[in-house]
């Protein structure tokens, strides 16, 4: 029984991480049909912000020493700032371009961010011990689980709750939802496009920062490629969830996390190295079954 609880918590915590990543991508896709491949590099950037630039093998921790109450807002601000800056400098100029062009631009931006980090910090992965107390394990319904897993799930659920409130109850949320549904119509009705888009980027940047902080606390590692794998799975989650659907992205994030943990548990040893092939196989089956994803966004339906 404790084993099953343990597996459920493993699946939930991994799923939370993927859900957060997927949400960051889905938010921007919703308002401007952009699949932002620079999201993974934004995650890495936020984590590197904990360190002082140096190419030494050992990390020179800088912002990472700040007390938590200052550190979290700072990193969230850095994520939001970088994200908004990429909108102002890069994506704004592609507003009229087709989605494929924007996607390529986001790839390019991702490379720029990654090589900027390479220049300042070198390619060596660095190590940092953030919030050590989260690494301790606690008793939970009879199972011993690392505190971080519980915190990750709690934070994700908290963020989901806040975001839902924001989107459903606030004026800005309403504008964002309107823009996601029909951007042209929303503008005609007085929604200011730049403000809504910038808001989406800021939120997405903060989600990147949150993902980064959880990642670095869990792995203890800061690496210029660290955002890439989360980004890939998050992107797949937004596709299976139904591009444009926030609920879909989050649900699919949890499903992929659960599938990944489950495969690791049930596959025989010889098949386990190919775990991801099974996970992605399930992705293909899902897409054949529902080509538009699990939750088809209303805005997507109109596009024939």
């Amino acid at each position: 029984m404790t084993e099953i609880i343990q597996i459920i918590i493993d699946a939930l915590s991994l799923g939370s991480l993927y859900a957060l990543g997927a949400l960051g991508i889905a938010l921007i896709f919703g308002v401007m049909r952009l699949v932002n491949f620079a999201h993974g590099d934004t995650i890495a950037f936020c984590v590197f912000a904990l360190l002082w630039p140096s190419i030494d093998a050992a990390a020179v921790v800088f912002a990472g020493h700040l007390p938590t109450v200052l550190l979290i807002p700072l990193i969230l601000l850095i994520g939001a700032g970088l994200s908004v800056l990429s909108e102002i400098i890069v994506f704004r100029r592609f507003r009229k371009a087709n989605p494929a062009t924007m996607m390529i631009a986001s790839f390019a931006l991702g490379f720029v961010i990654r090589y900027f980090l390479l220049m300042l910090y070198s390619s060596r992965p660095k190590s940092i011990n953030l919030w050590e107390s989260l690494g301790e394990s606690i008793g939970f319904l009879g199972a011993r689980v690392p505190l971080l897993q519980i915190v990750t799930v709690a934070i994700t659920l908290g963020i989901l709750g806040l975001l839902t409130l924001f989107l459903k109850r606030s004026r800005y949320g309403l504008e964002m939802r309107a823009a996601a549904e029909n951007f042209t119509m929303a503008r005609m009705l007085g929604v200011r496009a730049n403000r809504v888009i910038m808001l989406a980027f800021a939120l997405s940047g903060m989600l990147a920062a949150t993902t980064g902080l959880i990642l670095v606390t869990q792995t203890g590692t800061v690496d210029i490629q660290m955002g890439a794998s989360v980004m890939l799975i998050a992107f797949i989650a937004t596709v299976i969830g139904g591009l444009g659907s926030l609920t879909g992205a989050v649900t699919a994030g949890y499903l992929i996390g659960a599938a990944s943990v489950l495969m690791q548990v049930v596959l025989p040893l010889d098949a386990r190295p190919f775990r991801d092939a099974f996970v992605y196989g399930a992705v293909i089956v899902t897409l054949i079954w529902r080509p538009n994803g699990l939750f088809v966004a209303r805005s997507a339906k109109q596009r024939v």
């Binding site: 597996i7 093998a57 990390a59 390619s123 060596r124 992965p125 660095k126 690494g135 775990r275």
Partner: protein, 403 residues
Amino acid sequence: MSVSGETIMRHLTKIAFGMLMAGLSLGASAQAADIVVGFATASSGFMQAYDKPAQDAALIRIDEINKAGGLLGRQIKVVTADTKTDRAEGAKAGLEVIDKGADLVIVSCDYDFGSPAALAAEAAGKISMFLCAESVKAGIQGVGPHSFSASILAAVQGATMVDWSYNKKNARTYYRLLDTWTEYNKGVCDGFDWQLPKMKDAKLVGSDTFKNEDTSIAAQITRIKSLPKPPDAIMLCSMMPGVVSAIKQIRAAGITSMILNGSSVDGSYWLSATPDLSDFYVPVQGSIYGDDPNKDVTVFNAKYKAATGGDPSSQYVYPGYVLIDVWAKAVARAGTTDADAVTAKLEAMKDEPTLFGPRTFTSELHHQNKGKYLIVDVNKGKPSVVGDWTIAEPIPLSYLLKQ
């Protein structure tokens, strides 16, 4: 008239060509005063962080030889070309240093990134040496008869850790956790698999895999925790950066079994991620922690610091030094830099002493399938040498090739 004009032109062309060739050979003979070592390694891109430390160590040995009067009475000159951590650029870099007259081509640390330049050297009939590759392919099997690596095979590291932990730590139950990312990781676990059945009463109680980029290995940890009894030792076959995450998560889950790994985790730069890590063991060719039983290693560390401004960050600095050392000895014995003659002298080396343990090369294997390792123990976040170990018998080539 027109015919004789043509003849004159032909003569003139011949003369001009002859002069050109004479000029070229003059230039070449002027250069021949120096022996040229070419580095076709990464000075940019992510391999740079791995190539540069070993290259700096190689340069220290070259400097020592030059100061002691040179090799065959000639000075060693260094030429370089950047592979930019790109395999296509690697082949070009190999050709570039050969064009600059390299007698020895030193290539990137990793087999995949170093082999293009090594193959270029092989095609030109030159000796190539990998800075620190630990795959059996980095040599005759993957490049050709003039290719060598100065490091020790990954499999030896896995085998050494089993043998040592069984004998010195009384480990009897082992758990094998393989990171399927690289050949190196598989190599370490192959060595583990080869050695374990030789240990009486030692038992493999479980086996699992993960991927280096996995953000969470929670499912793998749950499997270890579901065992009726925790294993005495976990053989982790992994490398940076994922290994740090794996170790951190294993310890965070409250698993206290000793953890063994290959040399890839040597260095204290990552220990900040797991401040109180204990019972963690790695094999190293020399100690960067200032406690090497061989005092000359500590002297070398000081030299390295003086030359580069920093202490060696891991044991992967050392193979660079060994590489120049064994090659220079072979050249001195052969009396020439000719690839065949030098290869023959290298292949004649049996337990050749070097600063970082003995080296043996044969006409079948240009790599070490047995080697002396120091064992580093990380205790409360502090690494130190606790002994040394050499596996009783070399891992057979046939086994290495079968994997």
